[in-house]
Symmetry: none
Subunit: 208 residues, 2 copies
DNA sequence: TATTATACCCCCCGAATGTGGGATTGTGAA
DNA sequence: TTCACAATCCCACATTCGGGGGGTATAATA
């Protein structure tokens, strides 16, 4: 029997999911909580759970913050994030903190069941799009030998990463601000982005 | 129809697996090769395959070396490694080179079929023990340094790094844009910066 | 030679961001 | 009980950014 706990604030998700999990013959579902605080309270007197399904967008202590907390308490527990967020930062923060799984919230119930079993068996259940992001992380930037950017464009990117405004970049490179903005448009087109923020992120992740 | 190719030197594995895959109604299996060289020869005249199942222990060009080669030729191809090796080095080398999946060789046929579909759909099929190793890679050895930012502020920073506008961050976190702007002012004050760009740079350099 | 591609330069406008004020609520520490 | 401070919202205003144009010059290529 796999002992499973669920922490999820939305009643409409929590209750049906918990009921479904309770129905599984291989699961022992003892704890259902609407927040981390609630969970820690209810967990008193129970044996450590094998698997915890944990929402990220919780009131009070967030799911991401809770990972560390829960791992400190039970080092062996398998934490699976269950969330609507699919942005890279949250995924990596969760994994860094010690989560072993990451499921997006539209995951069918049966897949959630499989994920619990998978994690208990030493796997790492990730939703397909999440898995792809994780795997992409390893892809060596060196593979993309030739940056599509020209020298000028690279200088501008460097300025952006440095936190400079277009005006400052223009001053440094001896151009008008309009010229810099024009180059920026070309940069955005080449990198398939449409904001300074994305250029900086791509650049610092070695994707240029 | 997903066009699938198989490169595997052992006849005893290659032939039954190819037959199985050919039998799947959603697959179009045109190329079966016993080496990378053999594959490149046979691939002439065919459209680029969607998914390539690739052994690592091949005679001649190794599977690991072939990844780069194949990705250079068809940037969009999904390469799934199929191998007896489960050592960390080979896994990461494969992912670095651009493979999207990694299956150990005792994987049941039906799971291989699922993996092909998964990869074609934008996923990253990994055998459970492989997935766990990949996820473990992220686990930070040291406990997080204390950031001056609150949980909420960190969420906003995460949004910024993801390239979101204040409006989008507000929508994701369920706030008004004014709230986000207010928090942003506090973030800037705490980090001694005065632009989104600088926050992203600091964050990605691990200075938060 | 005409065409194409590319790097580089500039202007305008609406949207987003940055900055200066506010305000209220709740929580937790002094 | 103050006090600080996180979190939520609001307004006003100046600046910056993103996307739409328009150009020139040069090199390669058809």
């Amino acid at each position: 029997m796999i002992s499973v706990a669920l922490i999820e604030d939305l009643k409409d998700i929590r209750d049906p999911l918990f009921e479904f999990l309770s129905f599984q013959p291989e699961f022992l579902c003892e704890i259902k909580a609407e927040s981390v605080e609630d969970f820690l309270e209810k967990a008193k007197g129970f044996l450590p759970p094998d698997v915890i399904l944990l929402d990220i967008g919780l009131p009070g202590i967030s799911g991401l913050g809770a990972i560390q907390l829960l791992k400190d308490r039970w080092a062996e527990v398998n934490i699976i994030m269950l969330t609507v967020f699919d942005d890279t930062e949250k995924i990596f923060q969760a994994l860094r903190s010690g989560a072993v799984g990451y499921l997006v919230k539209n995951t069918p119930l049966i897949k959630i069941r499989d994920a619990v079993i998978d994690s208990y068996g030493g796997g790492a259940p990730l939703s397909p799009e999440i898995a792809r992001k994780v795997v992409r992380f390893f892809e060596s930037p060196q593979n993309k030998i030739d940056s599509p950017l020209t020298e000028k464009e690279k200088q501008i990117v460097a300025g952006m990463v440095d936190g400079q405004s277009f005006k400052m970049i223009a001053a440094n490179l001896g151009n008008t601000i309009e010229t810099i903005k024009s180059h920026t448009k070309n940069i955005y087109r080449k990198l398939y982005v449409n904001s300074k923020a994305e250029v900086i992120t791509k650049s610092l992740r070695g994707e240029i």
